[in-house]
């Protein structure tokens, strides 16, 4: 297959007026990324996007941990469609990859087995008195940033290049499994050549790293992380990816799934503590960014106001390469500039000459 085959998987993306579906995982680990996404949509792009206080979890993490039955999940998702209908929105912008996969799966199931849709409507009405119209368009929030990547480039204050040499940054893109593996046609580029993040990186001047385990799962595996006894599965899969990408010396990783962004970051911390292994070319960890943060840096937003201090692997090396001016003293301040101390140290961020680049070949 040719590299341009992503063009065969073009999906329709609505241009304006979205109902925003927040993500349990993203808002928990990267609250600043959700805030940044809304800022980009509203302030930079002038879009109408409704942030509804009545929106809840889609139950997706519970559904994929198999404790929430399908009928329950369908009715909860139906409630979200009803909230959008009531507010006058036909397009849904979904922040979570698990939710996005679930919405597309549910719509497909309703289409194929109409009795399941009838049951969801009945259950929702019985429980809440609400009714809904099926949304016209469902997009992941990374689809919307991709869709507006040219406009963002016009507004850019910098490109994804080394500020000193002008060389493009080498960027690993990681796509959440449920973005396109459930329904390849629901994702830009499909499941084999997803282009949603690569398109942003290339548009903004970076270069995309191709490596053997590019499509491997980050290792979340739902119950395989959520239950403490199973976490070996999770860290082993992240390590497999990290070992596969390390020889290509990436400057950073960017992910469109909040879980993946968290695991690829936190497991680097754990691997450095447990095995003294780090995967960055300079002997430290590889910084992991959300695509909202990557877009925000291109637009000149302040890294700490976007919450980039929440990553365990320090992001400063990327900021420095990009020539971002930041205030080191502001990194760990609380609300209204309050001093609240700083986190403890971690091996993944400490550079020492004798521990450099110890990866298994």
């Amino acid at each position: 297959m040719k590299r341009s085959s992503w063009k065969e998987y073009q999906k329709e993306i609505a241009d304006d007026r979205y109902y925003y579906a927040r993500s349990c995982i993203r808002q928990n680990f990267f609250p600043g990324s959700e805030t940044t996404f809304l800022r980009i949509m509203r302030e930079a792009l002038g879009k109408d996007i409704f942030d509804d206080p009545r929106h809840t979890s889609c139950t997706g993490i519970g559904y994929h941990s198999d404790i929430v039955p399908l009928d329950t999940t369908m009715a909860v998702v139906a409630r979200q469609f009803a909230l959008a209908t009531e507010a006058g929105y036909e397009n849904i912008a979904v922040s979570c990859i698990t939710s996005f996969g679930l919405y597309t799966e549910i719509l497909e199931t309703w289409h194929e087995f109409p009795e399941t849709e009838a049951r969801a409507r009945e259950n929702l009405f019985k429980a809440t008195g609400r009714e809904f119209v099926i949304p016209k368009n469902i997009a992941h929030t990374s689809d919307l940033v991709f869709h507006n990547r040219e406009k963002i480039e016009e507004l850019a204050v910098r490109r994804l290049v080394d500020a000193r040499t002008g060389e493009p940054l080498r960027i690993v893109e990681h796509i959440g499994c449920h973005y396109a593996k459930i329904f390849p046609k629901s994702g830009i580029g499909g499941s084999e050549f997803p282009y949603v993040l690569a398109g942003m990186v290339e548009q903004w001047g970076g270069s995309v790293v191709d490596y053997p385990e590019r499509r491997h799962c980050c290792g979340f595996g739902f119950r395989n992380y959520l239950v403490q006894a199973n976490r070996g599965f999770s860290i082993a899969n992240s390590r497999k990816k990290l070992e596969s990408m390390a020889p290509y010396k990436p400057d950073m990783i960017v992910a469109n799934c909040p879980g993946c962004a968290m695991f690829l970051d936190k497991w680097q911390y754990a691997l450095a503590e447990m095995e003294n292994s780090t995967y960055g070319a300079d002997g430290r960890g590889i910084p992991v960014l959300t695509y909202e943060e990557m877009a925000g840096l291109v637009l000149g937003y302040d890294p700490w106001e976007m919450g980039m201090q929440m990553h365990q692997v320090d992001v400063e090396p990327v900021l420095e390469r990009l020539g971002v001016k930041y205030d080191p003293a502001a990194k760990f301040l609380g609300r209204a500039g309050k001093y609240i101390g700083a986190p403890g140290e971690a091996a993944v961020n400490s550079f020492s000459g004798d521990r450099i680049y110890r990866i298994r070949q």
Binding site: C24, I25, R26, Q27, N28, P31, G32, E34, T35, D51, D52, P53, T56, S57, G62, H64, S65, D66, I67, L70, D71, T72, A75, R79, G101, T109, E112, F113, N123, L124, A127, T128, H178, K181, I182, G190, S191, E192, H216, C217, G219, G221, F222, R223, N224, V227, Q228, N230, F233, Y269, A270, G307, M310, Q312, G334, R335, I340, A342, P343, A346
Partner: protein, 224 residues
């Protein structure tokens, strides 16, 4: 009962045992797990073998990543078949017969209960640093200073209104709880509790206590 599950009807056409699903499966790499074999057992429709699966460790290894779905040349989804098997194993109370199956109680009491109480699968304090050393010192610091730190990034942290990690209003929470009641989600939870309680007693615990729950959450026999 198994064939009533739409995920099974959607996830299984004739399997030709090619093993592509096993080749891409992250669980097959880590565990003694072979999705090809599971699909083959299900298409064989042998009730004894299916019941053995429902009691087994095997069905709990899958990570539901769905990497198998786009690659299967017959359009099967072993991950969907696993979901249907896990649902049935819990409905029949057979999940307590395996170490990995018994973990469903911990998932129900953490993620499940949190959805009913807070409207989200997780909130920062649920990811307690004591249970999550792998989250590292930055997360520990963020949670310990949550009201100061999260509030810098999201203005209504655990408060009323819109925004990330806000408090969800009572009316919305009661709608979610009502949905769980009407759709059988609450009954499913109760079933997990009841089967776990009986099994816990059989194993010498004082019922499905916190101690038993923590045992299911943290014990690993390392025979997987």
């Amino acid at each position: 009962m198994l064939m009533e599950d739409v995920r099974l009807r959607e996830g299984l056409r004739a399997c030709m045992n090619c093993g592509v699903c096993t080749g891409v499966c992250p669980s097959a790499e880590f565990y003694d797990y072979d999705p090809r074999r599971i699909v083959n057992i299900i298409q064989g429709r042998d009730d004894d073998q299916i019941e053995a699966l429902l009691r087994s460790e095997t069905i709990w290894y899958c990570g539901e990543c769905m990497s198998c779905r786009p690659r299967c040349p017959r359009g099967n989804t072993p991950g969907y078949i696993i979901q249907a098997l896990r649902t049935l194993s819990q409905r029949l109370g057979l999940f307590v017969e395996s170490e990995k199956g018994r973990q469903q109680l911990a998932l129900k009491r953490t993620i499940g209960q949190h959805i009913l109480d807070k409207g989200y699968c997780i909130t920062p304090r649920l990811v307690a640093p004591s249970q999550h050393p792998e989250q590292g010192p930055v997360w520990k610091w963020a949670v310990e200073n949550d009201t100061d730190f999260f509030a810098r990034l999201t203005p209504n942290y655990m408060g009323a209104g819109s925004g990330a990690v806000r408090e969800i209003d009572r009316e919305t929470i009661s709608e979610i709880q009502k949905i769980f009641e009407v759709t059988g989600g609450s009954a499913f939870f109760e079933n997990i509790e009841a089967a776990s309680d009986a099994k816990a007693r059989e194993m010498g615990f004082d019922g499905a206590s916190d101690r038993y729950m923590m045992h299911t959450f943290s014990h690993n026999s390392n025979r997987h």
